[in-house]
């Protein structure tokens, strides 16, 4: 290690200069002690103001803190809301990919996640898990929001509980994306998930039936074409990673609330698309 690295004050500046276009000013020249102290204090202040120092405005996010770092927002969909939104399914489902068998709607678990990106790998964070199920004569939506990364273990254990009664999973591209991402987290936290049971990934039947007709087979396209309900006033899903980081860095809840709404819309769309395939 060379001399510069052992001077802690200079290290970060040095890294910055080495990584950017190399500058022509020396990066090893130490600031004088007083200025360094002032900078440190200033940085601390800006952080506290941004909500990193401890106080965090959580009030404007829906839900309650069920574990450190994990919020749960649970809502029962009243029958009027359900009817208006087209959230309806027969008590026993029969779908083209099951021969004679039917599945009761209580056994279905619709799920969808929002993540810190699309890059894959262990560093991908699932910060929002939304599930929709039929419980006690009504549809219930549960959204688990990882408010801070420390809530990850609690989120995985919540997922483990959701899977405990071996439901039939319903997702859109969940086989390739959401399920593996959640399984990665389970391994990381030493949580044993039940082996993947029955999983209806609706992307596949949609693709088989409409690939040639439609410009693409994204969830919103399928929703609009199959259920005649175009998505309005919604944040695009691609904004989700930024929304979460904005919240972590500055405590801004606006975008994140919109991501939660987007996730609820996606779950409802999932249910309506299944309704389209159900006989």
């Amino acid at each position: 290690m060379n001399a510069a690295a052992s001077q802690p004050g200079g290290l970060r500046e040095r890294l910055r200069a080495l990584r950017g276009a190399p500058s022509t000013t020396p990066v090893t020249e130490g600031l004088d002690a007083e200025w360094r102290d002032r900078l440190v204090r200033l940085r601390q202040l800006t952080r506290e103001r941004a909500g990193q120092g401890g106080l965090r405005p959580v009030a404007s996010l829906p839900g309650r803190e069920v574990a450190p770092g994990l919020l749960l927002d649970e809502r029962r969909l009243g029958s009027l809301h359900a009817r208006l939104a087209g959230i309806e399914l027969p008590a026993e489902l029969s779908v083209p990919w099951l021969d004679e068998r039917t599945v009761p709607r209580e056994r279905l678990l619709f799920f969808d996640t929002e993540t810190s990106g699309l890059c894959g790998g262990v560093g991908l964070k699932v910060f929002l898990l939304g599930v929709l199920r039929y419980e006690d004569d009504a549809f219930v939506m549960r959204q688990y929001l990882m408010r801070t990364p420390g809530g990850e273990g609690a989120l995985v254990r919540a997922w483990q509980r959701e899977l405990a009664d071996e439901p039939v999973l319903v997702s859109y591209n969940g086989k390739r994306f959401d399920w593996p991402a959640l399984s990665t987290l389970a391994t990381l936290h030493g949580v044993a998930l039940p082996a993947a049971g029955e999983h209806w990934d609706l992307l596949y039947p949609v693709r088989r039936a409409y690939r040639k007709e439609w410009p693409n087979c994204r969830l919103v396209t399928a929703e609009e074409r199959l259920t005649g309900r175009p998505r309005k006033a919604d944040l695009p899903g691609s904004e989700a990673p930024r929304a979460w980081r904005e919240y972590l860095a500055h405590g801004h809840t606006g975008l994140l609330s919109e991501v939660m709404r987007h996730n609820r819309y996606d779950l409802e769309a999932l249910l309506r698309i299944l309704g389209h395939f159900a006989r």
């Binding site: 290690m1 060379n2 001399a3 510069a4 690295a5 802690p8 290290l11 970060r12 040095r14 890294l15 910055r16 200069a17 080495l18 990584r19 276009a21 190399p22 500058s23 022509t24 000013t25 020396p26 990066v27 090893t28 020249e29 770092g69 810190s116 990106g117 699309l118 890059c119 894959g120 790998g121 262990v122 560093g123 964070k125 801070t148 990364p149 420390g150 990850e152 399984s183 990665t184 391994t187 990381l188 990673p241 979460w244 980081r245 972590l248 860095a249």
Partner: protein
């Protein structure tokens, strides 16, 4: 073979400056250990292994004791069995898993083929798979969950395995052995990266509760134990005594005959090697030729093909092999070599490693490979399987070459170089801390590579990549950091060479970033299997060079110059009448143009301009400077002083390369003013020339202040740890450089001491001037 050697001795006595003969030696054998699995013992017996060489038996014992080890014995001494034996034994007895790392895909594939043969011989049922970029995605799942031995390379471990470790959870939980072959090739920048990949591997293994045993293999280097320890961060037991039998071998040191003795100009190494190759092939022997650059491989191949492959109806007898060729092409050449279908292969260092290319008789080195270790490794490619072999080291006019060929005892008596890495190089460390944070969050008090890294984590928080939550730092960015880190080159982004002759676009080669500016400028002749293409357009941003097939009688060589500006001084010491400094510097390298050189005559038939972005780096350096007054006392003109500085830089660089045991390209040299007002280089006419800040030519007599300095710098952003030891050993460095210049038998200077002198002028002696500068600093 004996006839060829006798003929060379008789006809070319004047060229042979030294000879070495190693007699055949018998092996030392030990019994196969009793405790091994009976199925494995049977498989070995089927393959003809009924006893072990002593070093194999020692390796087996060391593994059984649970110690980490490195085996450093010569080429073809049966190193593979040292790790395959214990690993297969453990796989059979207790389902232990192993991870094998090889520096290249080709070596990994060879290895699996060998394992499969042993497997078949004994019906062992052990599953060995390669895992690399060619592994189809539907087969990857099986490799991860079913493989007993997974054979891969550091790049895949870095980019595909560690960042997805949860998919490999089962594998890591039962991981008992990590085998790293060719550890000597993990040195310098590449080695520093690999050391960090292994630090990340340790973290992941610890996470899954595994503590694998490391088995390393190395070619003969000066410090196999210490190097393996630096690389793996683990204590190592080193096995260096080979018990394998050896065939006899001749080694000739060959200096091309002088053309102009006064100027120290000799016939080229290229012409000598192609003559020796012709003699070898005409004697019915098979040869491997090593050249030190891709360009030289192509030129040599063309010359040999002109003699042996001029009839297109017959199969080719000569083939080239180098990095940058597409993999299929290389695999084809390897197969043809093994089948004995080719009589001569011309290669860069790409064939230095253990790729199996069958038995060869003669090894010709066109130029000194730059280190004793690499030379021995290359010579080892001839005479495998215990047959007599001949190696000829043909010196070029480079100073290192001339030093070695004039002092054969240096090569024969000196122990081979030490491999060095700097795993804590700042940028490399930062790259891998980022990757490690992606793979597992860092917790308060966690160490990485034995070091406290809080500062780094805080920096990454400021960059928005990590988020601190209580005692842990979590990765939150939308990126996959391993993709941004290339283990093998300084800057990422290889260039592809696209042939658009005849309207189609075909990729014919790949060139790494660092050599793109020197080989792919517009107008350059780019060769593959000695067939010339001309670069028509270079898309620097898109990393593409468009070429068309051409027919010309010349090749091209880039002209570049280097400008250096000191930024900070870490240490200053008196050095004679001047000062020696260790510090930090900003280096700009610019390719200004190229020369067209005609085949065979090697005359310069024209120049072309090149317009490419400057390459910049900020690095550590050491330099010497002299005040104007001291120079005015001893030099009549500034031109003489400049000559002296350029000559001194040349000699110091040569000696520093030897002293720090690095590759010549790892260490840069430059002459300039201490305040970066100007920089100097040797012009095409062989005279010192000064350029101002904008690159314009300047007459030194018109400068207000003339205070030159000579710089040696680490040729890597942030430095790679070479310049500090040089600064500490500066007295030794200076006296060795003075001895090199003083004791050279040339007249005014030559390539072996102060650099080539192209024209004689009355009363001009760059050599004397260089000595004056070196004396002033002593």
């Amino acid at each position: 073979m004996a006839a060829l050697v006798a003929r060379l001795r008789r006809k070319y006595r004047g060229c042979i400056t030294g000879e070495a003969y190693v007699a055949a030696s018998a092996g030392r054998h030990e019994a196969v250990p009793d405790a091994i699995d009976a199925r494995l013992a049977a498989a070995l017996a089927t393959r003809g292994v009924r006893s072990l060489y002593s070093h194999q038996a020692e390796a087996w014992r060391t593994v059984a004791e649970g110690r980490h080890l490195v085996i450093a014995t010569p080429t073809a001494s049966g190193k593979t069995l040292c790790f395959n034996g214990p690993v297969l034994d453990a796989a059979l007895k207790s389902q232990a898993k192993a991870l094998y790392l090889f520096p290249t895909k080709a070596l990994a594939q060879d290895q699996v083929a060998e394992l499969m043969e042993l497997n078949r011989a004994g019906e062992l049922g052990v599953r060995a798979y390669t895992f690399d970029g060619d592994t189809p995605s539907d087969a990857r799942q099986a490799v991860r969950t079913k493989g007993d031995i997974v054979v891969t390379n550091p790049d895949m471990l870095h980019q595909a395995i560690l960042p997805h470790h949860t998919k490999w959870a089962q594998f890591f939980q039962s991981l008992r052995y990590v085998v790293i072959d060719e550890v000597h090739s993990y040195r310098g920048v590449f080695g520093s990266h690999v050391a960090n990949v292994l630090r990340r591997l340790h973290r992941i293994c610890a996470f899954y509760g595994a503590r694998p045993q490391f088995i390393c293999c190395s070619a003969t280097i000066g410090n196999p134990g210490a190097h393996a320890e630096a690389l793996t961060g683990l204590p190592m037991h080193a096995i260096t005594e080979s018990g394998a039998p050896r065939g006899a071998s001749h080694l000739l040191f060959w200096n091309p005959p002088p053309v102009n003795p006064d100027l120290g100009i000799r016939a080229s190494a290229r012409s000598q090697v192609s003559k020796l190759a012709r003699m070898t092939l005409k004697a019915g022997l098979k040869a491997i030729l090593f050249a030190n650059s891709r360009l030289m491989v192509e030129v040599l191949t063309k010359y040999l093909k002109d003699v042996f492959d001029h009839d297109p109806r017959k199969p080719a007898r000569v083939r080239a092999y180098r990095g940058g060729y597409l993999p299929e092409e290389r695999r084809l050449t390897e197969r043809m070599m093994r089948a004995g279908a080719i009589d001569a292969i011309v290669s860069t260092s790409a064939l230095e490693l253990g790729v199996d290319i069958g038995a060869l008789d003669v090894c010709l080195l066109c130029g000194y490979p730059g280190s004793i270790a690499a030379t021995r490794q290359r010579l080892g490619r001839a005479g495998r399987r215990q047959q007599a072999a001949l190696g000829v080291l043909v010196a070029s006019s480079d100073p290192l070459d001339q030093f070695v060929v004039r002092n054969p005892s240096y090569f024969l008596e000196q122990s081979p170089e030490q491999a060095r890495i700097d795993a804590d190089q700042l940028l490399i460390l930062l790259d891998h801390i980022r990757c490690a944070a992606f793979e597992l969050p860092f917790a308060e008090g966690d160490r990485y590579g034995g070091r406290e890294i809080r500062e780094f984590l805080e920096y990454l928080v400021e960059e928005g990549l990590l988020h601190r939550d209580g005692p842990r730092w979590h990765w939150i960015a939308d990126s996959y950091p391993a993709n941004a880190v290339n283990l093998r080159s300084v800057a990422d982004g290889n260039f592809v060479v696209v042939d658009r002759s005849g309207g189609k676009q075909t990729i014919i080669a790949e060139v790494d970033y660092s050599s793109a500016a020197l080989t792919l400028y517009e107008g350059a002749i780019y060769m593959v299997q000695s067939v010339p293409w001309q670069v028509e357009k270079l898309d620097w941003v898109g990393r593409k060079a468009y070429v068309t097939r051409t027919h010309v009688d010349y090749y091209t060589d880039a002209i570049d110059y280097t400008k250096l500006k000191p930024l900070a001084e870490f240490g200053v010491e008196r050095a004679g009448a001047g000062e020696a400094v260790h510090g930090e510097a900003h280096v700009v390298r610019r390719v200004t143009g190229y020369k067209k050189i005609r085949y065979y005559s090697h005359e310069n038939i024209g120049y072309g301009p090149v317009n490419l972005p400057d390459q910049e780096l900020q690095t550590t350096a050491m330099w010497w400077r002299l005040p104007p007054a001291a120079l005015d006392r001893v030099f009549r003109t500034r031109f003489e002083a400049l000559d002296g500085f350029l000559g001194a830089a040349y000699a110091l660089h040569t000696v520093a390369t030897l002293l720090s045991m690095c590759e010549p390209r790892d260490l840069g040299k430059a002459v300039g003013s201490g305040d970066s007002e100007w920089s100097a280089e040797v012009s095409a006419k062989g005279r010192g020339q000064i350029r101002g800040q904008g690159g314009e030519a300047v007459d030194p007599a018109t400068l207000e202040r003339f205070a030159p300095a000579v710089y040696l710098y680490d040729n890597y952003p942030g430095g790679i740890g070479l310049s500090r030891p040089l600064f500490e050993r500066r007295a030794e460095l200076l006296s060795a450089a003075r001895a090199l210049v003083r004791d050279c038998r040339c007249g005014p200077g030559c390539p072996a001491c102060v650099g080539p002198i192209l024209a004689t002028e009355e009363g001009r002696s760059p050599k004397a001037n260089a000595l004056t500068v070196l004396d002033l600093l002593a």
